[in-house]
Symmetry: C3
Subunit: 499 residues, 3 copies
Amino acid sequence: MMSYRVLLIIISLCILFFPGERAGAQSQVPMSPQTQACIGCHDTYSPGIVKDWLSSRHSKTVPGDALKKSALERRISAQSLPKELAEYAVGCYECHSLNGKNHNDNFDHSGFRVNVIVTPDDCKTCHPVEVGQFSGSKKAFAHKNLMENPVYQVLVNTATGLKRVEKGKIVSDKPSDATLHETCLGCHGTKVQVRGMKKIATKIGELNFPDLANWPNQGVGRVNPDGSVGACTTCHPRHGFSIEVARKPYSCSQCHLEPDVPAWNVYKESKHGNIYSSKHKEWNFESVPWVVGKDFKAPTCASCHNSLVISPSGEVIAERTHDFGSRLWVRLFGIIYSHAQPKSGDTTIIKNKDGLPLPVTFTGEPASEYLIDPKEQAKRLTVMKGVCNSCHGTNWVNGHFVKLDSTIKETNEMTLTATKLLLEVWKNKLEDPSNPFDEAIEQMWARQWLFYGNSIRYASAMTGAPDYAAFKNGWWYLAENLQRMKEWMELKKKAAGAQ
Amino acid sequence: MMSYRVLLIIISLCILFFPGERAGAQSQVPMSPQTQACIGCHDTYSPGIVKDWLSSRHSKTVPGDALKKSALERRISAQSLPKELAEYAVGCYECHSLNGKNHNDNFDHSGFRVNVIVTPDDCKTCHPVEVGQFSGSKKAFAHKNLMENPVYQVLVNTATGLKRVEKGKIVSDKPSDATLHETCLGCHGTKVQVRGMKKIATKIGELNFPDLANWPNQGVGRVNPDGSVGACTTCHPRHGFSIEVARKPYSCSQCHLEPDVPAWNVYKESKHGNIYSSKHKEWNFESVPWVVGKDFKAPTCASCHNSLVISPSGEVIAERTHDFGSRLWVRLFGIIYSHAQPKSGDTTIIKNKDGLPLPVTFTGEPASEYLIDPKEQAKRLTVMKGVCNSCHGTNWVNGHFVKLDSTIKETNEMTLTATKLLLEVWKNKLEDPSNPFDEAIEQMWARQWLFYGNSIRYASAMTGAPDYAAFKNGWWYLAENLQRMKEWMELKKKAAGAQ
Amino acid sequence: MMSYRVLLIIISLCILFFPGERAGAQSQVPMSPQTQACIGCHDTYSPGIVKDWLSSRHSKTVPGDALKKSALERRISAQSLPKELAEYAVGCYECHSLNGKNHNDNFDHSGFRVNVIVTPDDCKTCHPVEVGQFSGSKKAFAHKNLMENPVYQVLVNTATGLKRVEKGKIVSDKPSDATLHETCLGCHGTKVQVRGMKKIATKIGELNFPDLANWPNQGVGRVNPDGSVGACTTCHPRHGFSIEVARKPYSCSQCHLEPDVPAWNVYKESKHGNIYSSKHKEWNFESVPWVVGKDFKAPTCASCHNSLVISPSGEVIAERTHDFGSRLWVRLFGIIYSHAQPKSGDTTIIKNKDGLPLPVTFTGEPASEYLIDPKEQAKRLTVMKGVCNSCHGTNWVNGHFVKLDSTIKETNEMTLTATKLLLEVWKNKLEDPSNPFDEAIEQMWARQWLFYGNSIRYASAMTGAPDYAAFKNGWWYLAENLQRMKEWMELKKKAAGAQ
């Protein structure tokens, strides 16, 4: 090991004295000596990371210059920065060395104290407004909202627990960390924990690294070793941190897809998605602010939900937000009914009239005190309509949302119809209500709102994907599944009577 | 309101006197004064529309020049045009002011009489051949063929009607307009009706607009307020009207997708689709005529079904058509069996031997007098083979279609097998034949031909997507679903006996 | 015919004397006289083929120059070539005339002896290393492995045989050649057979061609008329033979897709796929060798499984291979359990302890003597980790594969649980074990490992597509399907008792 460290020092010194000789030379802006040292090794041992970073804006600008941009053009929301960050490219060391004392994953790596994971609390050094917005959003609570809600826990455990047949009954273990990580927490985010240090064999010999549990993971509500929540890399993947990637719909598609949240599938088949697919090669996904009609001619997810969008004449049409629900008035995702958006991103605080931590009761009554009121709903709808108005007349836009309202109401009624059937099943003791997700009719009922109701509402909201409302997990399935629930119930009744 | 009108007049006058000062300046060709006035406001209030139009050929040429092109290069099929249309760019006013007296949606908008909806009857001013071809196609009758066919109406109502449980039975309402609009009529087209006028709050105050029911909608068989049918914007979306968008497969994918019509899904996974995905960035989707081998190297939907395709040496391989079935000899979409293409686009006139408005009887006998005869079938197959021959030898092409013939025959036989099971179910009074779509075995039967039979036939027709014929809604499902029909029937029999 | 032959000779002579006058002129390199004659006709009669070839590297270089490239840059693996091949572009005649005496499809075509099908045995004239690697792979045995394995034959016949209802029972024929061709053999490859010669009507009159059965087909394990196996055109489609097409994931997607092998679906939704979709337009898919970080910044299928990948500094990260399993240690595709990769590409030689030609017994015991041992597994895993290390630290990579190991173990256990239920069904004579794929519970059991177990393992292997592990054919389905198996078994039991 000694000789390895000596080698490292020599490499670092070489770089300091001949700074133009290596990968760094491709960067137009000064790199800190520490970052040069990082690259000195990693350009050999993980070149993909280095080249990716070299393609990033982080490598091509210094924050000091970024601060000088006009308000609309700024990509940085800090008002000022310490000198050592302002004058260098945003390199390896600049990000991985921040707030080390808060980081359980901080360690000595070849003479430098670095953190394995760069967290939102680190990113907020330069991007405090974005991290602030994010921290109040449902996304920031994605881990907690799932893992600390007893009802959802029953669903998670029933679906993902390892199952055995014992004495004719299906017995389920609690899900393993690995399986949770790959299923629900792949999107919701794991709790990354430091178990200590361990030696790992690498190409340059054994090295000491923090021993991380539930890692790697980029779930949007990840709980980090510095206690912060979230992962900016969910949408801005390392180490290019490209705004283009975040604005293109593929990022969102990783989690928002069929059968439970078919936002991506519906978008892709909609008229907006069609135009995107055919024409986006001519659009500009890099410019800040983003000019409707000039930079893009049909929206992506980001246009309607997040980005700072302005008109060609410079009028702000929608402010940038990293609170991803803040332009939304209604939550299409039914649990179990579609409902007004929750007031707080932390939905574990909700208690409905049944005493359950759900935004609506089993029979459809909303837990209104935890949900935004009609006035706030109207305000948010107005913001969204403003985006639509960039390309559609008011008459058109109003017609669209009247239709969505009707669909929300009808799909909620279909959920109620299925729920009434389930209540009858339970009343007749054909299935056991203690776990509402583990028997055949119960599972049909869950499909009704989780798969089919949601599909239809997403199809309605992004009008123009009729098959997601009709045949593809849509009304056909709603009708067929309801019929099967009923006929299955009758067969079970007769079988019970025949015993 | 007075001051608003004065303002408008001032804006219009300004534009007339300083025509180079605004958005219009980006257009290379003269705009009519009326269109300049439109843009004067809409560039501010709906800039996306204006910018999209500025990207269109309509904004970059005048019809007078378009008329001078050679026959093969022409994108306009009128022989002559009135002077006021020939000399200006095809702008807002040129399209939205046509045939006002036929339009129930004609209204006074800031001093101009305009129609909300531009219809095929308006487009045919310049494109009469295309509209003429379209008007005889099944697409033009897409609304009528669905909504005025009593059998399909039962299917539509059963699937999309709101359902309640009453005294242990599932009771279905008639579907709402909103739900029809978002499901079946999203593709088939709504009947847009003018309910009168209404005041709408816009950014510039309250304005009077026609109050339109079932709007917005771009379904291909839309019934318009001028009595015409169709929507050119289904494939040529406003206001770019791009031929590139229409030629790329995403347009077709909006309606022709799994599970009932998986043309897009199959194409995407086929060898043609694979080459398209990998290489289309190098192709030319704008040129007229479209040169196989030069402009594109693998077909999209439009190459085989619609476009004017010529060889590099100038030979016409296929004439342009907007009668979308005119190169087709067989209708893969089984209702309930695959059959020869109907003679008329209006399929409500068909009556089969069972007296039903279906092209084939329940047991497979075609209503031949309403379907094209073998001679016409052969003629159309020859046209299609001509397209294939651009890139494939005759031996190859023949082998392909022999395979397709076999698959049509076999999938039809599988439908017959399922139908015989259903007849047995009905004979045994296990389900009620009065509605063939509302009970469990009936719904399995519908899946058999609507989802699985269709998938296999589309996969066969665009050979190279084997999973859509095998596991993905293919033969696996045909076999499994048939088995379930049978076993479900047996369980119902025993349950009936146990009563 | 005589005058046609005379015409041909005249055309050929014209081309020989005025070689710059036709399509050939677009090629920068000399074409053989024979190829010029081919093009003389085919440029008129199948121009798409000619133009596609003109876009290929085969038309733009001569093998003699290709031989001079450095080892890493070479796209040709022969050490030397006969003069007549080395000095001309790789044209029609160069490929279609090779090894004619081995080809049952060799025939006289307008005075030239040519083969209809160019096979791997022909391609190996220039590419012997690639064909050699391929010939030992499972892909080369894709036809045999499926069609000569009695267990798989039961599955194939049950799914794809035409079915009738006779005396209340479903009776299945053997599948037709056409249906096999379009389903299983679409990917696995048909056995192309020459039935003799036949006259075919073409645009230039009747011509004599070999009469080929099971043609056209590009399945990867196709059995060719020269006795060789495979089709290079599966991934390098004719006549562009583009390395770009082979490296882009769409090629693989044709066969590796949901529900049984959802590699493409999972990739597309993964972080790697997301970055590919957003950024691949900026990457270089043509360069040999392929430089990670420079030519591409996120992997496609080829990066990890096949391509020669080097680092920006020139270090070889992974050698090129056309033995597509050679970097794989475990076979995710469960039959019926996931297991170590087979030693031989020919899996028909395997016999497990139950005496069945399957790599694992019904209860999970692997046929270890036919599978690679832990040492070979470790060696292959090291190669794959080397690819990952280009962009990910060792800690990250190790964490990923620990997770995959856990998932393989758990999904195998879930298969065992379902298998135990099935054994109980058989023991109780509720279904007949003589065919394990043709009754309702058996088919649910097949879905358990073929659709759901596989989906979860693929999602795990390309971490970042959580919905394919959770709701989309994932754990939700595993749990629900298991529950249905059990409840269906109970209903059948009661129905049997009620008889």
